[in-house]
Amino acid sequence: MTADLVRRTVALCRDLRGRGMMVTTAHAIDAIRALRCVGMESRERVYLALRCVLVARPEEVEIFDDAFAMAFAPSSPPEGSTRVSRRSPPRDPAVVSSLRSWGEQGSDSEEQGDPEPVPAASDMPAVVQKDFSAFGADELADIQRIASRIARRLAARPSRRWAPDRRGRRIDLRRTMRRALAEPLDLRFRRRKPRKTRIVAICDVSGSMDLYSQFLLQFLYALQGTVARVESFVFSTVLRRVTGVLRQPDYAWVLRGLSAEVHDWSGGTRIGESLAAFNQEWGRLVDRRTVVVILSDGWDTGDPSLLGAEMELLQRRSRRVVWLNPLLGSADYQPLTQGMQAALPHVSVFAPAHNLAALRALERHLLS
């Protein structure tokens, strides 16, 4: 193997790491071993071998192809090239800074300059009923607490896994046999282990929905740890999956990831098209155990019949579709927009999500 090829491969690995792919030193070593296996005569074989070793999910193929083309360009190697990946279009600085400030709300409450002292107890009616748009920084902790409570309840549903239990319904043969050596008929029992509920959340982040979606996403972020299967998506004009981002244990990472993934944090809304994209690309995540939660005000700039059709499909595939509309929180709101009218026939639960009380009520819709 030529030193040049090794050098290019290592440069490729470094480049992929820079573009956010998980490429470790072990991967680089495997990549070089792989090249030794397939030889260097055929560019296609080299490409296929490296892709097999370095790519770990289909979304990465495009990134890889781009990086491969650069690292194995026929002419001079692209060291220090300034070409920008197709996957990372230039970001709107305003979007990034608005996300940053969202993240900093929790730590720097002084900077918010909120003159009102906020009560700590989450059950104070004033706090529970307060619209999120009037929220101070300290209440974030409350949301986390309620979310954990919901998560614990959700995590307590029975599943097909079994755990030992004195009063269970099924005889636990393994433990009974262990006992039987001394006393043959001392039966051990087992019961079903709790099953995790599946939730798919699709949040509108356009314009006024931005704030409410942030709270719902925070809430889901807390669910993520305890309830294993939460999938989260955000949309305004385009749909983006943020599950991986919300799963990062470190909060700073979450924010950095979100600002990297959600370029269109505000702008027009295409609910129908976003749901169509979801059904097309991610429909497999929804089965009849899955509760689909959509947060949006229903201000759709697209075709309402498309929205209706996609909602019907979602409702048919899932256990339940919960539509959260923060505007429902105000007394005089009527769901008269075309989009809302098209969606409503296919919604099992239509609820607000504008304050803590509403978030707490969500528990019932996710559970029952």
Partner: protein, 276 residues
């Protein structure tokens, strides 16, 4: 199937002794790859079908309780001491080997271990599987440690119904299989359903390829194409007609709303039936 991407991946999996993770739509032949590999290597295929709630006992080993209980009863009748019985009933004849242990304890050539639809299992099981795949040894407390003499060839498949952990992905080579292009699917149909004439096969495949571009809830996979071709051959079809399609569409399109949509499209002449 001489697809270079598949061939390269299998070659590397064998040479680098790493598990190969195969993802793709349902029905593109992920499982088939493991079967073909086992056949090529002239070795056994051991299959572990995953489902939600699959646990270590079902995947690894279980004691044969009925036999143990019977043995204890017999020993008691003959007046043997319990300690004697214990030594006996936790020995190999009483052990039921489940797929993972079968693969590890396999004699002769290393087998192909197919972990099918890993995305259906729980995260906990995935973590357990990682441990087994990293050292191919299992400790049965009553028996001691069982180690694989040679590493089995491991193939995992996933339909992506949930995201797999990064840890698992990191340890595997990766192959994504998309629906095959026209020529390749035609070749598959010709080979697997020899009864279909060249024209019929081409018509079938071009219609299926069109359907995949349509917005259906469940896209037909290669296995659906083959089922459909078989059905048409049984009906002695020479060419596709709207009537024949109406009678057999259920082989191909398996969602009620999709059926309605495709039927409507055919009636309205929006789906051309001739070969592309």
């Amino acid at each position: 199937m001489a697809d270079p991407a598949i061939a390269t991946s299998l070659h590397l999996a064998l040479e680098l002794h790493k598990p190969l993770l195969i993802e793709g739509h349902a029905g593109v032949g992920k499982t088939e790859i493991a079967k073909v590999l086992a056949r090529l290597l002239a070795t056994d295929l051991i299959r572990l079908q995953c489902y939600e709630g699959l646990d270590a006992n079902t995947a690894l080993y279980e004691w044969n309780y009925a036999r143990q209980l019977l043995h204890i009863r017999l020993q008691e009748r003959d007046g043997h001491a319990p300690a004697e019985a214990e030594a006996k009933i936790f020995s190999e004849p009483f052990l039921l080997k489940r797929p993972l242990l079968q693969a590890i304890a396999h004699e002769g050539r290393p087998p192909v271990l197919l972990v099918d639809e890993i995305d259906r299992s729980d995260e906990e099981f995935e973590a357990f599987l990682l441990e087994v795949l990293s050292d191919f040894q299992v400790t049965v407390p009553e028996l001691g440690t069982i180690r694989a003499r040679e590493r089995p060839h491991v193939i995992l498949t996933s339909n992506r119904s949930r995201e797999l952990s990064d840890a698992l992905r990191r340890r595997c080579l990766y192959l994504f299989i998309d629906h095959p292009p026209f020529e390749k699917e035609l070749m598959i149909v010709r080979r697997k359903v020899p009864g279909a004439s060249e024209e019929l096969a081409a018509e079938i495949v071009s219609l299926v390829q069109r359907l995949r571009r349509a917005k259906l809830a469940k896209l037909p996979g290669v296995s659906e194409t083959l089922d459909w071709a078989e059905a048409l051959v049984v009906l002695h079809a020479a060419h596709l007609t709207p009537e024949l399609i109406g009678e057999t569409l259920g082989c191909l399109v398996k969602d009620e709303a999709d059926l309605r949509k495709v039927r409507g499209d055919i009636e309205a002449g929006r789906l051309p039936l001739g070969a592309a």
